[in-house]
């Protein structure tokens, strides 16, 4: 049983923002795979007086492929992400990562936007999206704004969304050719588990570009990029020494906690293992 709430089903983003401005304590309902769980957990103390179901807003679930960018609607389900032909072809790391999350039924319900706004430090998609240089689009009473995903998270369960604001899309540039990206994850079971540690790795070294991305989850209050590691890889490429150094820098940058799933010490060590593994896989591909 869940506490009662007033139910709103806005037909547009503007209407949603109006309701959220009027009722700052209202919760946004996307797929429900987080909110509906939280409402069942009394220790969270979450009893929103109202719930705003945004799933009937047309277009928010669209995945738009343009020449320069891929824009994922906030309500795109994880299943939609997994099944989209362009995403599968050019960014297979996204379906691969989404498959770690939950189960098929959960992925049918869960949305990209809901996952980001839940802002779990252990969420798997954020590091991958950081490696893709994603930006988010936010609608609100003050108009629309966009910002890099890296600035979207404030802490565990907290984003920069202001009262009345709604996340509407996530967009990343369509690199040509796409950079090889790997996501490495440590968990215990093959399904249903929250990551103990996760690392997204990307390295691009060609005539025009020397760049790398190293992004981590589950080892800090928010997903983080490790720029020190990125610059080593960008400068030196995927040499043994650079890989080792990047792994160590990533480990050092992690600020994990100990909880029921793992200790901080283990998480920190595993960051090094995952980064090393992901970079070696990129090198050997």
């Amino acid at each position: 049983m869940r506490p009662h709430f007033a139910y709103h089903q806005p037909a547009s983003v503007e209407e949603a923002c109006r309701i959220l401005t009027r009722e700052p304590e209202a919760a946004v309902l996307a797929g429900g795979t987080d909110l509906m769980v939280h409402l069942r957990q009394p220790w969270r103390g979450q009893r929103p007086p109202a719930v705003v179901n945004v799933k009937r807003i047309p277009g928010l679930d669209a995945i738009a492929v343009a020449d320069g960018a891929i824009r994922l609607g906030a309500l795109a389900s994880l299943t939609a992400l997994i099944e989209h032909p362009v995403i599968r072809a050019e960014y297979p790391v996204l379906p691969a990562t989404a498959r770690y999350m939950g189960s098929p039924a959960i992925r049918n319900l869960a949305t990209l936007g809901g996952n980001l706004c839940n802002a779990s430090p252990a969420a798997d998609l954020p590091p991958v999206l950081l490696a893709l240089d994603a930006e988010v689009g936010i609608a609100g009473p003050g108009g629309a704004r966009r910002l890099p995903l890296e600035r979207f998270f404030r802490g565990p369960g907290q984003t920069v969304l202001q009262p009345g604001e709604l996340l509407v899309w996530v967009e990343f540039p369509r690199r040509r050719p796409p950079w090889p990206i790997r996501y490495e994850r440590l968990d215990v079971r093959r399904a249903m588990d929250i990551a103990i540690a996760g690392a997204a790795l990307a390295v691009c070294r060609d005539r025009r570009t020397r760049e790398a991305r190293v992004a981590l989850c589950a080892v800090a209050p928010t997903p983080i990029r490790v720029r020190e590691a990125e610059s080593v890889l960008a400068t030196e490429g995927l040499t043994d020494a650079a890989i080792e150094q990047a792994a160590e820098l990533a480990s050092a940058a992690a600020r994990p906690i100990s909880d029921v799933r793992a200790t901080a010490e283990y998480r920190r060590e595993m960051v090094g293992v995952l980064v090393r593994r992901g970079l070696e896989a990129l090198r050997d591909a």
């Binding site: 440590l186 215990v188 093959r190 029921v260 595993m270």
Partner: protein, 764 residues
């Protein structure tokens, strides 16, 4: 059992049948207890303490009672209740003191579940927290907080102590001694269907309970005592249940509270645990620290064992406290070992308390013993399989306790798993992963277990004038398929198609007495009862048929629903005709057979000597694993599982029990741990109490070895727990084989393995 009228080839026994209730289950027609309603039913909810150890200073239920829709609120202060439980140390609704985080302080009955839950939040309770103790060693200290005033030193006064032979000399004279202490933590049954009860009193003061119990007749008696009434006024109905695995082996506060609420508000009351509550309040397997030493000769022959187990009993005594009984049996009797000693210390703490859970102490003891069989082999430079076969129990053995081993195929079980585990797997270990194989065997009761004074089960077989047979059995169906195999036994014995047998087993007002589902006893004991009852009714059938066919009884036999003359098989008469002829006449009779099978066994005496089971079950398992050294992850690629089952009456059922048992045992080995911190449950949900998913399971290769036990129904022995018992030992031995570390704590999570690897070789 011997004296059988049916021999091979069998028509029903050994065939692959569809479980009797499978159609209801795959169509959603089955109605579990949460699906049931009684007219006028109210919902009950329990309020539990937020702190593990405290004095109750004040309870004020007025606000709760005033909430519209609330019918009544009960506490330990406004109801009549008597202490219950094995040690009578437990009151359903607590008075004065709460001792663990489960403790029930109040209960509300209301028109809806929601109102009942809201009312619980309105009950005001003032607690004065008391110093608490959460570790058995700390609880034994002289200045430790006392959990129960009547039990000084926090000792549960059960003594499981045994000694045979000359243990000191054995250890002195041994060529090698290995020792270790193993830490086994909390796990829980985690059934998909939660605990529940519906209680309804009638105007005469009779109570009907719908319950998830698996011991309806004992429950009837104990519930009556707790409520201050008599057993004849209590009727227990067992709807289909969503799993049990030992959970239902005791009477629990929820049962008493449902009855008390129903009495208080004069309406039927239903209480169903939600998942949080199930993880919190459903009984666990008992956590323990198991210290074992094993002594052996240079040639591998075992000389002695010395075991001490320290058990965290939690706040009250339930069946978990009696598991040293089985631990003792294993230490003393598993593998031949002449000089043996066992002792246990069971300590009250402010942690949650344990019940019985599949395997019942045997997982823990087998884990220790099998770790040391490998350690011995390594120290002596012997083959790990050879040392096991060398010391294996054999038919005709009598263990130092006096357990008489009759049929036994332990060596053959080891041979079977050794063969299966080595079949090509089709791929090499991945880079960074090391592969290993581990073995473990087990020995458990297989022909009932006289842990209560009675180990009996009653059966009635009724043959009607449509040729349909009803088996009314005392045995309970808890999802494991007992009613299916019992129907198969009756069908085989009576020579009728399996589809013609129906089973009635869910109502104490109807079914004959049975002690309950435990100790893998149902196929054997209830099977023998059903067989005897079927034989009884068959005799009546043949006698009646003899008159109809006008042939002597000795000339007759039955098959396919017909009684026929052996030398002229075309002369035959259908059962239904015989039965009709029997009662559609003057001076008629109906055909009902009955039996109560209580095996020729003994309860253990004060020295823990005796033969508690008619026969014993044996099994061996092997695990093929890969371990990733960088992370400590273990992947089990294959499990080979060989079982001396006596006879596989229901092969689908046997495999199902083994496969499910392996799942539960692998969870114990790898991922399942109910974590408590200062008495509070940290991971009470399926997200972080990790049951293995379909994607996590290894390949399973099963061998069923039929020793055809002379006492079992058609030769069968018990099987329900065997798949679970040795697997964690086999996996731990496989990990040792793969990466050289001896894991002494379960579960072997990646982090634990990683730490063990680091400790053993810091540069890893």
């Amino acid at each position: 059992m011997s004296g059988e009228t049916r021999t091979e080839p069998f028509k029903v026994i050994g065939t692959r049948v569809v479980k009797l209730d499978a159609l209801e289950k795959v169509t959603g027609a089955v109605r579990y207890l949460p699906d049931l309603e009684a007219p006028g039913m109210a919902w009950g909810k329990i309020l539990r303490t937020p702190v593990p150890h405290a004095r109750i200073r004040r309870i004020d239920t007025r606000k709760a009672e005033a909430l519209p829709g609330v019918l009544g609120v009960i506490t330990g202060y406004n109801v009549e209740q008597a202490p219950f439980g094995y040690a009578k140390d437990h009151l359903a609704l607590k008075r004065d003191v709460v001792r663990c985080i489960r403790d029930e302080v109040a209960a509300v009955a209301a028109e809806t579940e929601e109102i009942a839950a809201e009312a619980c939040r309105l009950v005001e309770v003032e607690y004065e927290e008391l110093p608490a103790v959460f570790d058995p060693v700390a609880a034994l200290a002289p200045d430790a907080p006392r959990i129960h005033p009547q039990f000084p030193g926090n000792l549960v006064n059960f003594s499981y102590k045994f000694e045979a032979g000359n243990v000191e000399r054995a250890f002195r004279e041994a060529d090698v001694v290995v020792e270790g202490t193993y830490r086994l933590n909390y796990v829980t049954t985690a059934c998909l269907g939660t605990m529940a009860a519906i209680a309804a009193w009638d105007p005469r003061g009779n109570l009907t309970m719908w319950s998830t119990t698996q011991i309806p007749f004992l429950y009837q008696r104990e519930l009556a005592d707790a409520l201050g009434t008599t057993g004849d006024r209590i009727r227990v109905i067992q709807p289909p249940v969503g799993g049990n695995f030992g959970r239902g082996l005791d009477l629990y506060p929820v049962d008493i509270i449902a009855a008390l609420l129903a009495r208080h508000v004069q309406r039927p009351v239903k209480i169903v645990f939600d998942r949080d509550e199930e993880f919190l309040a459903s009984p666990t397997r008992e956590p323990c620290s198991f210290t074992l030493r094993t002594a052996a000769r240079a040639d591998g022959i075992l000389l002695g064992r010395d075991a001490r187990v320290l058990i965290d009993n939690g706040a009250y005594v339930s069946w978990g406290s009696t598991t040293p009984y089985v631990m003792l049996t294993t230490v003393v009797g598993f593998y031949r070992c002449p000089n043996v000693r066992f002792d246990s210390t069971i300590v009250y703490t402010n942690n949650v308390y344990s019940g019985s859970m599949r395997g019942y102490g045997n997982l823990e003891s087998t884990f220790a013993i099998e770790a040391q069989m490998d350690d011995l082999a390594e120290t002596l430079g012997l083959d790990r399989l050879a040392i096991r076969k060398q010391n294996a129990n054999r038919p005709g053995d009598v263990t130092p306790q006096g357990l008489r081993i009759t049929s036994c195929a332990l060596e053959e079980c080891f041979d079977a798993v050794a063969r299966d585990i080595r079949k090509p797997i089709g791929r090499e270990p991945r880079p960074g992963w090391k592969r290993g194989i581990g073995y473990a065997g087990m020995f458990h009761v297989g022909g009932g277990a006289r842990v209560y004074r009675s180990d009996g089960c009653g059966a009635i077989v009724k043959l009607d004038d449509f040729g349909k047979v009803s088996l009314i059995t005392g045995a309970s169906e808890i999802g494991q398929g007992s009613e299916t195999v019992l129907a198969m036994i009756v069908a085989e014995e009576l020579g009728i198609p399996f589809e013609r047998v129906g089973v009635v087993n869910d109502d104490t007002a109807v079914k004959p007495w049975d002690v309950g589902v435990h100790a893998s006893r149902t196929t054997f004991i209830a099977g023998n009862a059903a067989l005897l009852a079927a034989r009884d009714v068959k005799g009546q059938l043949l006698t009646l048929a003899a008159r109809e066919i006008e042939e002597p009884v000795e000339e007759l036999d039955c098959e396919d629903g017909f009684v026929f003359v052996r030398r002229v098989p075309q002369r035959r008469i259908a059962y239904e005709k015989v039965v009709r002829a029997g009662h559609f006449r003057e001076g008629g009779r109906i055909l009902i057979g009955q039996a109560f099978y209580d095996p020729p066994t003994q309860m253990l005496d004060k020295e823990f000597r005796g033969n508690v089971s008619v026969t014993y079950a044996f099994a061996a398992q092997a695990a093929l694993v890969e371990v990733e050294e960088a992370t400590g992850r273990i992947e089990v690629l294959r499990v080979a599982s060989a079982h001396d089952v006596g006879r596989a009456l229901n092969p689908v059922g046997c495999e199902g029990q083994i496969e499910g048992g392996i799942h539960m045992g692998l969870g114990y080995a790898l991922t399942e741990e109910l974590k408590l911190d200062r008495g509070r449950v940290l991971n009470g949900g399926f997200l972080d109490y990790k049951l293995l998913t379909a994607a996590d399971m290894p390949e399973i290769l099963i061998t069923l070895i039929e020793t055809v036990d002379e006492a079992g129904p058609f030769g069968a022995k018990g099987l329900g727990e065997s798949g679970t018992i040795p697997i964690s030992a086999a996996v731990a031995n496989a990990v040792k084989d793969a990466v050289g570390v001896r894991m002494t704590e379960l579960p072997m999570t990646p982090e634990r393995v990683w730490r063990a690897l680091r400790r053993s070789s810091p540069d890893r």
